[in-house]
């Protein structure tokens, strides 16, 4: 990049951030980091342990006492529209997924990683779902500057050691991932995330949606360290062989010819 363009880009970048974040010197950032929690390593939702076959260990054990996949929404306070969407979802059966998206990425059997910085918290999972949670004091963009996405728009702040996250503009999660709750784009998600012990992080969700829910839907997701990972194992979706037989039942499609 030429110097003039570089300066222009730098000016734009600085102008885009609130004053609280833009003026930190490297030394000040180091001090700011020291005040933040560190939730290092990989974390996985409790009770969603998965076998080598991809089946839920809880289901294999036929143990219904362990609450799992809370954000799938089977116990959410659905209103008529929500129940209608739930019924449509049940009829659709197992469809192909594009990935997991929000909020299911926070309640999945895939490991997640928390990257905490003075300006934002980034949450990444093995499917490369990425959340940017800005903690630099900014607000959500104006309505005219927003559009719904699979991950929504998130801002956050710290209350002691608790990260409070506010997320809006999430597309109906059930479109992206067939297991997700069929909430509307008007849903408002608030999370309170806190490390309660060195081996446990809790995320308390409160979801409100005037379109599909009768009132606040609360769910507490807990994470424990994901074992067996020395790196994030990320692979793109390029081999979805789940198809349908002539009776509309799911089956395994034949292997595709190898590409060169």
């Amino acid at each position: 990049m030429r110097p003039v363009l570089l300066l222009a880009a730098a000016a734009l970048a600085v102008g885009a951030f609130p004053a609280a974040a833009k003026d930190l010197t490297p030394a000040e950032r180091t001090k700011a980091y020291a005040k933040l929690p560190y939730w290092g390593g990989f974390w996985i939702t409790e009770n969603d342990e998965t076998s080598i076959g991809g089946l839920s260990q809880r289901a294999i054990d036929k143990d219904s006492s362990r609450a799992a996949m809370l954000l799938y929404g089977f116990n959410a306070p659905w209103n008529d529209e929500g129940r209608k969407r739930q019924a449509a979802r049940a009829k659709a059966g197992d469809r192909k997924a594009d990935g997991w998206g929000y909020p299911v990425m926070m309640n999945a059997a895939a490991p997640i990683q928390f990257m905490i910085t003075p300006e934002e918290v980034i949450i990444i999972n093995a499917y490369r779902d990425v959340r940017h949670i800005y903690t630099d004091g900014r607000k959500h963009p104006d309505a005219d500057d927003l559009w719904p996405t699979v991950w929504g728009d998130s801002i956050g702040h710290w209350e002691g050691d608790t990260l409070v996250v506010d997320t809006i503009q999430v597309k109906n999660p059930n479109i992206y991932f067939h297991g997700a709750a069929p909430l509307s784009e008007q849903a408002h998600y608030v999370e309170r995330i806190r490390m309660v012990s060195p081996t446990r992080i809790e995320d308390e969700f409160t979801i409100e949606d005037p379109v599909t829910l009768t009132g606040p839907w609360k769910a507490k997701i807990t994470y424990s360290p994901a074992e067996g990972f020395d790196r994030m194992v990320s692979i793109d979706f390029d081999n979805d062989r789940t198809g349908f037989d002539d009776q509309g039942r799911n089956t395994i499609e034949p292997p595709k010819p190898a590409e060169k």
């Binding site: 998965t50 081999n239 009776q247």
Partner: protein, 104 residues
């Protein structure tokens, strides 16, 4: 999709091990009592689940004899979801496979 009321045990030769998302697959050539060979499509979890269990893309080589237990497809096609997998002589794969690169 899978009949979880019955499990089958299959022993055969690996045709291909697909280390892919959203699922890994083992293509397994299985010879029946009459000598006819059928290729089964056996679904496994995503690579990350296998990785955490000590599996790697090279854990299964083409031609390797293995034994699996599966829940078969409900539609009767030669396929299923893997419950357990070992070498044909019963040694573990992934974790607990001391001579495997996967366990290092």
């Amino acid at each position: 999709m899978f009949d979880q009321t019955k499990s089958l045990k299959l022993t055969g030769s690996v045709v291909q091990f697909q280390w892919t998302n959203p699922h890994c697959y083992i293509q397994l050539a299985v010879k029946d009592a009459s000598g006819t060979t059928t290729e089964w499509s056996l679904e496994m979890g995503a690579p990350m689940y296998l990785y955490a269990d000590g599996w790697r893309p090279g854990t299964l080589k083409t031609g390797s004899p293995i034994t699996v237990t599966i829940y078969p497809l409900k539609d009767g096609k030669p396929g299923g979801v893997v419950l357990t997998a070992t070498t044909a002589d019963g040694k573990p794969l992934g974790k607990g496979a001391p001579l495997s690169k996967a366990s290092s």
